[in-house]
Symmetry: C2
Subunit: 338 residues, 2 copies
């Protein structure tokens, strides 16, 4: 198994990417193809005693920055670490691709270099987020703002297959994010999507209110990219606010500080349950090869996890299943076949 | 000052409404006009030793339930406690109205019985929500799904005036909820709203990402009713999840339980800072009289707070200011006049 990794994607690149990749080689016996400025990569590895065994560097002198227009990936920045990596993926040089770089550029590369699955017009970027006692997939979390009812129906299908193949969840519960549970709620988009989703070949559990999602009401929450992005970012913002509040609560005075020491075990468990780097990066669903967007702030461990996720993604055969399911749905004979 | 209160609105009505109203009479010297089944109200008050001094009951035999179509308020349920209350408000029998009943019915009554401010086509329901070190107003939080750029621009104006008059915030920072801070982000709705908001007579600070809202980036967060409702409900859901997680963390074992005891002061402060019943109910902005939707689960204290909020709302003259501002904006000479 060969995984292509963007050596210059992310706030901590290339060091964290190199470290994470070396860990992945060691732990999973995978081969890494890393794109980026060869001299810089070799120098960084040497300086930090990172072994390049199992890591093949493919030179790419340029970098896509967060400020660049994502479309420069296709023209002006064709020699960037990300563009070269996408081309390698398209050419079959590796089975999957991981990047911690610009989300917009990952979306552009997935759509226009790797290309979409036949029948899927708008791929989605999916995030896996902790709930009270597990996790759920949110998609789209920001790749596609102008969704159609059919887009949302497809997201449900792809999310369902992903959660099944990646985490072994039987018949994942797919919900449509809405402002009430009744079938008549929402805008035209939700009304239309509900109609299509209730006929789709997966376990559609109806509308879900955002209040119920953290409580674990669904395994897959489907939304247009605007709503999904707002949900994702509010989750991040509130998690950060609550963490800070808890810290303040513990640091209030000497008595509370002693209390906090006694709570150590509980705090560790709490933190672990909220750590979503464990779930890896955000998969881009609806394209012909596995593409994973790692968080921009990923550290070595997060990159290692994203490589593990890429391996499972590629091995699972889920893209084949998505392709076949959408083909069957297009010819109208796919209902209830799951 | 006379405040009209829906005696049968809310999960704990009429008892909590009666208790909260009696407290308000005592603490604020206000007069309450309460609508609802007179016999039941008098019996409940007697059974619980609640004084009806300062509370005038106006008989209304019917009740709007959460299951009723909100529009029944205008016809089939004209004799409900809520419909009668709205009519009293319209007729000037009281200065403001508080209900803990069906949100949909409150929106219908505000729009079609009390009527909109001239120039405001779509009133908004606003919620005040805690941040890390203060609070912000979110509007619309679910009254209007089909917003236009002008609607959002008006929300910014009304939210700004409310936060100024109600909480004394000078020049409240108004942000447009969006998926990035750049002017070019979002759907057509956000692009259009940005254009209008940057010319509007208030302190528009540009787009705000949902991640920054809990950190206190804005005093007023403007969104269409779908996005706003999702934001509000996710906030509730995550707050409830984190509270439960914190409890689990403290109850893990004997050591953590002792730690939790030592944390008591900190916990009390944490809880108080997250208690948004302190901010009262959700004001309906854009209608000709003060209308406040109290939370359905309001207890006596929350109803008392909502009455206090109604008094301030009515006394502040903010509806006059909103009316004048929108009139000035309509004739194109209102820019920067604030």
């Amino acid at each position: 198994m060969k995984i292509i990794v963007d050596g210059f994607g992310g706030d901590n690149a290339p060091l964290a990417v190199l470290e994470g990749s070396a860990l992945a080689v060691k732990e999973y016996g995978v081969e890494i193809i890393m794109t980026g400025d060869e001299a810089v990569l070799k120098k960084t590895a040497a300086e930090h005693n990172i072994s390049l065994d199992g890591i093949k560097i493919v030179h790419a002198p340029d970098v896509i920055s967060m400020e660049d227009d994502p479309r420069t990936l296709l023209k002006a920045k064709k020699q960037s670490s990300m563009a070269v990596a996408f081309q390698l993926l398209k050419d079959g040089e590796g089975e999957a691709f991981v990047s911690g770089g610009s989300t917009g550029a990952v979306v552009v590369g997935a759509n226009f270099i790797v290309k979409r699955i036949k029948g899927i017009k708008r791929p989605g970027l999916a995030s896996v987020i902790p709930t009270i006692n597990g996790k759920y997939m949110l998609l789209d979390s920001g790749a596609t703002l102008d969704c159609k009812p059919e887009t949302l129906m497809h997201y449900g299908m792809m999310g369902s297959i992903y959660m099944n193949k990646m985490f072994g969840i039987e018949s994942p519960r797919v919900g449509l994010v809405n402002i009430g549970t009744e079938e008549t709620k929402g805008t035209e988009l939700q009304l239309g999507a509900y109609e299509k989703m209730k006929e789709a070949p997966y376990n559609f559990v109806g509308n879900v209110e955002a209040r119920e999602i953290p409580a674990g009401a669904v395994d897959v929450a489907v939304a247009d990219g605007f709503t999904g992005n707002v949900l994702l970012k509010l989750t991040e913002g509130l998690a950060s606010m609550f963490s800070k509040k808890i810290k303040d609560m513990m640091m209030k005075n000497t008595k509370t500080k002693i209390g906090a020491l006694l709570l150590k075990d509980g705090i560790a468990e709490f933190k672990a349950s909220m750590d979503y780097s464990e779930f890896g990066g955000a998969p881009m669903l609806g394209v012909q090869k596995p593409v994973i967007k790692a968080h921009g702030s990923s550290n070595a461990k997060a990159f290692k996890n994203a490589v593990r996720q890429a391996i499972t993604f590629a091995e699972s055969g889920m893209i084949k299943e998505m392709t076949e399911t959408v083909a069957a749905m297009r010819f109208g004979d796919g209902e209830g076949e799951e």
